[in-house]
């Protein structure tokens, strides 16, 4: 898995930038961007798998952490536009000028610094997850209830971000970005670099997650997933473990969101839609949960399938996707990863 990512990390930029466009091996910038996006989804799926696969927290609100991270990056990029906006106001983003605002709301302060913005992109989702987890896990809200109130959370956030008064661009969100750290977002080189960054980030986070789930901490978390009451009786502070995993997962999701925005060039409240969060769950389920690499695989495969199908036959896409969910839950309860490992053991026996 790491090998594949590392390889793609080299192949994509090289074939995009160095191989001439006429060559059959040329990889278009469009594909680089597309797969860069998928890598972010992979990262997001990884985050959810950590919470759901290993700790049993089925979050229907991970889209919210992702979107918050995205808004963190979006705000930085928005500030980078400076006076190149339509209204040419050096201090205010276009939508604020449009709403006749005279000064920047306080919470936009500091977002012109990349470091601060990135910190916030991870910190805000983390904080939200901490507050939420601290409340919910202490009152032993579990299972379906937890899923539903997380869904309520992302729904409430979506409604809030749709409001112009929130100061995040309302309906239209943040867009029209020009450059990041002084490099134009439109250039092929920037995109290739972003792609490499996304792959590296995925590799690093994947390794960290692997390390965590293999550690003693990870084993405790898995036992909590399988027998929460028993672990509590043994004397573990179940809620602390759960909150930690949940916060970590939200941090990763926020990071994924921050990486995602430069690829697509827009962030809007639609990202908070409850449907998006369910889609993340689907990726992990199809890829195979509690395997980590399965989640990444699921995210990339399903997203790719979605892109292809909606282009070729939009009518059939929902049928296929729907059918796929039913099929996977019925016949591949452990997802593709589970299917592969079963296949491996079977083949091994035969040989």
């Amino acid at each position: 898995m790491i090998a594949i990512l590392l390889a793609s990390c080299i192949i994509f930029p090289v074939f995009n930038l160095l191989v001439p466009e006429s060559s059959a091996f040329h990889i278009s910038t469009y594909l680089v961007t597309l797969f860069g996006k998928y890598l972010c989804f992979g990262l997001l799926a990884l985050a959810l798998d950590l919470a759901w696969g290993f700790c049993g927290i089925l979050s229907l609100g991970h889209g919210a952490f992702f979107a918050l991270g995205g808004y963190g990056m979006g705000m930085y990029l928005m500030r980078q536009i400076g006076d190149r906006g339509v209204y040419g106001n050096p201090n205010l983003p276009d939508f604020m000028v449009f709403l006749n605002w005279t000064e920047l709301p306080w919470y936009w302060n500091g977002f012109n610094y990349f470091g601060f913005a990135m910190l916030m992109a991870a910190f805000v989702p983390g904080l939200l997850a901490f507050a939420f987890g601290w409340l919910a896990f202490r009152s032993r809200v579990t299972g379906v209830y937890l899923s539903i109130i997380l869904q309520a959370m992302t729904y409430a956030l979506m409604l809030s971000f749709f409001r112009n008064e929130m100061g995040f661009g309302g309906n239209n969100g943040l867009t029209d970005f020009k450059d990041i750290l002084g490099f134009s977002l439109q250039s092929d080189v920037t995109r290739a670099v972003l792609f490499v960054l996304a792959s590296l980030m995925l590799i690093i986070v994947y390794m960290i997650c692997r390390h965590i789930v293999k550690s003693k901490f990870g084993r405790v978390v898995v036992s909590i997933r399988d027998a929460e009451t028993r672990m509590r009786f043994i004397g573990y502070k179940v809620e602390n473990y759960k909150t930690s995993v949940f916060v970590l997962s939200a941090l990763i999701a926020g990071l994924a969101g921050a990486l995602y925005v430069p690829f697509v060039g827009i962030i809007n409240p639609g990202e908070f839609a409850p449907l998006n969060s369910i889609e993340i769950v689907i990726w992990v389920a199809i890829g195979g949960r509690s395997t980590l690499y399965g989640a990444v695989l699921g995210a990339i495969l399903v997203s790719y399938a979605k892109t292809r199908f909606t282009a070729i036959m939009p009518e059939a896409w929902l049928f296929t996707l729907g059918g796929l969910f039913v099929f996977v839950t019925l016949f591949l309860p452990r997802g593709l990863a589970g299917f592969f490992s079963d296949l491996k053991t079977k083949l091994g026996k035969k040989a």
Partner: protein, 541 residues
């Protein structure tokens, strides 16, 4: 000159005596002939003579005067260019069908240029309306009299006062008398006599009419007499607190209405999710199927929209119920005990159903019409009106809830359903066919979703996304109320519905919704199993 004389003659003939005396003395034939003499004058009358003529016509006691005035008001009265004969005109394709203005006798077709309209301007129109109202004051139907009085009062015309006073002495119908009194008191409010104003205020205390309220507000600010001004302020205050009270009633009704919609949407889910533990993400789509069934039924019986709803209700129950049983038998029964995985599978089903509807019907919204008896509103008083469709849905929701509770409490199926949901193994051991019960329970929950769809089709757009709009809300209601408890869902729906509508006026619709969601999130922290948690050790998963 000749015209003037004729008009004068006519005026004297009819105006020589006050109208009421005249009505007694004049016999019908004389009046008829009078009308026949006056109307032709319209053809040659000058514009400033027309109002007088119209008044003369209205004051004749001829029964044909009202239809004639109405035709005049509608711009249907013309005169022929050659004979200067006054006629009533109906348009037939490119030609005019002309009728005698009084007898309505057909006179044949003419070209559009052969006739000229008797022009009626706005001030004349008002005069004619007032005159028609004056005629209606003598109508036999109290309803007609009442609306005539209301029209005259609303116009605040000084000339109507006499007519109203006269009618007041003769009137027998309660509501008409009341309307006249209000009208007279309203004109008294602007009288110069302070005692008249004061007594009018007494009469109007607590009245909710907005014209009256405005007049009193005006007095409370500007009345020359300080005593009366203070009195007007008191009366205004009492009226305003009454209006406020009705405002609360209105809000409560909106809240109940929203609650009933939430309850209808959530109650099916309370069964599939609460009783069976299945997270049915396709629930919204089952509601949508119900709404589309209503559409299909209406298409099938385009002539009887009013009755079609009564066919649509069982039809929607069957369609959604059968889909539900299909889903349960085909997919969900393999997933019992893995509630989170039913979420994935049913989400897949919801996508399939959405696309199915898009492919079969169209991605656009379909038009479902309201039957006659469901449109309009019930005007309780000047400031409180309840729309019929929401009222009926509220009642309908209570009926559905009552029937469902009865079904679960009293019937064999209901008892078996509860047995299986409480202890599957034990139920099986004593001979309950649990698989069969599961299928029927799921079918029941889905069928109710279908019925909810029929109700929703009357108040929202019927489109492929209908279900999506309600699924999140439905889950909130069930979780808030407490899983596995129908009454929890009942209270949950109405508390959330009313809460939302109470917040809305000062927070705005979106913020109200956000606050409700935050409230649910916090509430679940405090009470992790909802309003009415199921008790017992067996409930720990």
């Amino acid at each position: 000159m000749l015209r003037k004389i004729l008009i004068l003659a006519a005026t004297f003939q009819l105006f020589g005596l006050p109208p009421e005396v005249e009505a007694q003395t004049q016999d019908a034939s004389q009046a008829n002939s009078a009308l026949e003499e006056i109307i032709p004058i319209l053809a040659t009358a000058r514009r400033n003579e027309v109002p007088d003529l119209v008044e003369i016509i209205a004051n004749s006691q001829d029964s044909r005067r009202r239809p004639f005035l109405e035709s005049l008001l509608n711009g249907q009265i013309y005169f022929t260019r050659d004979e200067e004969r006054v006629v009533k005109v109906l348009r037939v394709d490119d030609q005019f069908q002309i009728n005698d203005a009084l007898s309505n006798e057909e006179l044949g077709l003419v070209g559009t240029r052969a006739v000229r309209r008797v022009s009626v301007n706005n001030s004349l129109r008002r005069t004619i309306r007032l005159l028609i109202a004056g005629i209606d004051l003598q109508d036999d139907d109290p309803q007609v009299r009442l609306s005539a009085v209301e029209y005259m009062v609303a116009q605040e015309a000084a000339e109507s006062r006499e007519q109203l006073l006269q009618l007041q002495s003769e009137e027998s119908d309660e509501s008409v008398i009341q309307a006249i009194e209000e009208g007279l008191a309203l004109t008294d409010l602007s009288s110069k006599d302070a005692s008249l104003r004061s007594s009018a205020l007494d009469k109007l205390a607590g009245n909710l009419n907005s014209t009256i309220r405005n007049s009193i507000r005006d007095m409370a600010e500007n009345d020359p007499d300080p005593e009366i001004q203070a009195k007007a302020q008191d009366v205004l205050y009492s009226i305003q607190s009454k209006v406020e009270l009705y405002g609360y009633v209105q809000t409560l009704f909106f809240g109940l209405s929203l609650g009933s919609v939430l309850l209808l949407a959530a109650i099916g889910l309370a069964i599939t999710f609460g009783v069976m533990g299945v997270i049915n993400m396709a629930h919204g789509e089952l509601i949508m199927l119900g709404a589309y069934t209503t559409y299909v039924v209406q298409q099938a019986f385009p002539d009887s929209i009013g009755m079609s709803l009564f066919i649509a209700i069982p039809a929607a129950f069957l369609v959604s119920g059968l889909f539900g049983i299909l889903i349960e038998r085909g997919i969900i029964r393999f997933l019992y005990g893995r509630p989170l995985e039913t979420l994935l599978a049913t989400f897949g089903i919801s996508l399939i159903l959405q696309q199915l509807v898009r492919s079969v019907f169209s991605p656009q919204n379909r038009q479902v019409s309201n039957p006659e008896w469901m449109s309009g509103q019930w005007q309780i008083n000047e400031v409180l009106a309840l729309t019929y469709n929401r009222l009926y849905i509220l009642i309908f929701c209570f009926i559905v809830f009552a029937l469902l509770s009865l079904l679960l409490k009293k019937t064999r199926l209901g008892i078996e359903v509860r047995a299986v949901s409480q202890n599957r193994a034990m139920a099986k051991a004593i001979g309950v066919r649990s698989g069969w019960v599961d299928a029927l329970t799921f079918g029941l929950g889905s069928g109710i979703a279908g019925i909810a769809g029929v109700a929703l089709s009357q108040i929202t757009n019927v489109g492929p996304n209908l279900g999506q709009a309600y699924i999140v809300d439905s889950f909130m209601v069930v979780v808030f109320g407490g899983v596995g408890n129908l009454w929890g869902t009942f209270y949950g729906a109405f508390i959330l519905g009313i809460g939302n509508k109470i917040l809305e006026p000062w927070a705005g619709a979106v913020v109200a919704k956000i606050l409700i969601l935050v409230f649910i999130i916090l509430f679940i922290q405090k009470q992790p199993r909802g309003l009415f948690p199921q008790k017992g050790r067996g409930m720990e998963e």
